[in-house]
Symmetry: C2
Subunit: 311 residues, 2 copies
């Protein structure tokens, strides 16, 4: 049984409409006059973060990846609960607490509870975080609302976090300190687009955050909406630091579009809708299935993997 088989078994249990079939970024439950939006994501040492990562960055990332799910639903964060498995490494724990303080201060989200356990015989830490927030609009965007004819947009730049990972793991070298720092920061300290998510949520036909790779996440909107999404590889927005290290040829663009950990917002909307923030149009919704790619106006093949699927 793979992880996907297991999740399929869980989906059969998750029949409540608020669960959104376990196929969205977050659960959405009416609560009083508003909607409660909730998500829980885990990070496992050696899988989701390197064992030699700065523990302060790990704490930041644990908060940020969960807040990014709230951003994708246009929710305002209200609080977090943390599950922490400790090894006997005081310095690690202390640095983690420092990063946690920085994250909850930066994002203005209070730590409200959780649990701390010994990792016991396990050498690798398992961290979990629940983030919840409220959405005031009547509509909380899902992955499933895209329709043929709608445009596909993305916030910010794509690929910087992947670039930072290449630098952190010694697979690439930055041209200078500032460029290296910018890409490492994108990898180590992702900034979920909370304000953007709130500004966009009532105007989009679908929205999610880009966590596992732009192409893979686009295919998830395509699958959930029963459409095809065509991405124009030339339009994928790259940053100056990214281009200065990796260039902007097809290989570099493909790496950016499959690298993941961007925590930008990917969304679809009617081309007539005026969107209130700066976005890059990267493709369009068509009838069909899955994701397809064009470059220089011509259809090009998909890469072997569309993104990062955890084993």
């Amino acid at each position: 049984m793979t992880e996907l088989d297991f999740i399929d078994q869980l989906k059969k249990l998750a029949t409540h409409p608020a669960a959104r079939g376990l196929s969205d970024d977050a659960a959405v439950l009416p609560f009083g006059r508003h909607k409660l939006v909730m998500t829980h994501d885990m990070l496992v040492e050696g899988i989701h973060f390197l064992s030699n990562a700065d523990p302060a960055d790990v704490a930041w990332k644990l908060v940020a990846v969960n807040l990014s799910d709230l951003a994708a639903k246009g929710a305002k964060p209200l609080g977090i609960l943390m599950g922490y498995s400790r090894t006997d490494d005081d310095a690690w724990d202390a640095a983690f607490v420092r990063g946690l303080r920085e994250a909850i201060t930066h994002f203005g989200v209070p730590l409200l509870g959780g649990d701390t356990v010994s990792s016991g015989n396990n050498k690798k830490r398992t961290l979990g975080l629940t983030a919840f927030g409220e959405s005031k609009g009547h509509i909380v965007p899902a992955r499933s609302g895209a329709v043929p004819g709608h445009a596909v947009y993305v916030t910010g730049r794509i690929g910087d976090a992947w670039g930072g990972l290449q630098l952190a793991s010694g697979k690439a070298h930055g041209a200078d300190f500032e460029i290296t720092a910018a890409l490492l920061k994108a990898h180590n300290r992702p900034r979920p687009r909370l304000d953007d998510g709130r500004a966009l949520s009532s105007l989009v036909s679908s929205m999610m955050d880009v966590s596992d790779g732009l192409l893979l996440d686009a295919s998830r909107i395509a699958d959930a909406s029963g459409i095809n999404i065509e991405i124009d590889l030339d339009a994928v927005p790259l940053s100056d630091p990214f281009v200065s290290v990796f260039g902007d040829d097809e290989e570099a663009r493909m790496s950016a579009a499959t690298g993941g950990d961007d925590y930008q917002l990917l969304l679809t909307a009617s081309p007539e809708t005026v969107l209130p923030i700066k976005l890059t149009k990267i493709g369009k919704c068509k009838s069909g299935t899955g994701v397809s790619l064009v470059q220089h106006g011509e259809q090009v093949g998909l890469p072997e993997t569309l993104g990062f699927v955890h084993a």
Copy 2:
């Protein structure tokens, strides 16, 4: 740094009033006209459950221990999110899903989301669950409201889960099948007192659930309230199955009062308050500190450990 030192560091971050200083069973946040009550508890294989435990029982317990925290705050459960670290044991996972289905059906609480990860190099599973609910009363009981003169009560019977653990680990043997089954069920399938918690929450001066041992949990109410709690060991309610295996002498009563995993409610209230459900009065609140014990009307010494503190 011990786990308690680490939690002290987290407490310094958790300054929002809804966090209740990380010293209560759950976070309590005003949300619309009601209150949102949230908790997150973890179970680690080899620490919180035996590696040879029935995975269906583990799933049940993961849900039940979290719902018990909601019961202690008088909250009605609205949903759960689960964090699950998988090893490659399909039969285990399938049995776990079966137990999870039984639990969410029994308690009527929907599975709304969560995350599934590979346990990677870790051999032992780390499971986390967030449960949340709503409390409609103005007052959500804390551990801190007990005052001298109030009576101390407990729901149900104390010690059955400890008795079941003795049977499950071969340290004791039940007299007959029915007795063994009753104690094992108390250990394997705890039933949080959700209805009782809701019926009591507006009438008590403090309330919590008994998870780590009656004496230890009573000391937590005493500490949070700045009082002494005197427990009458003779009054601790034992079940017939418990007494038939372990007797009701001082040693047996002390085991029951320190064994933990009862998931009964421990509460204090004015002796004049008429409480709407059947409870056992087991002691009283006095000025002073900590917990003290009487038996046959005489003060007796405290046992070496008041309950189960995870390493």
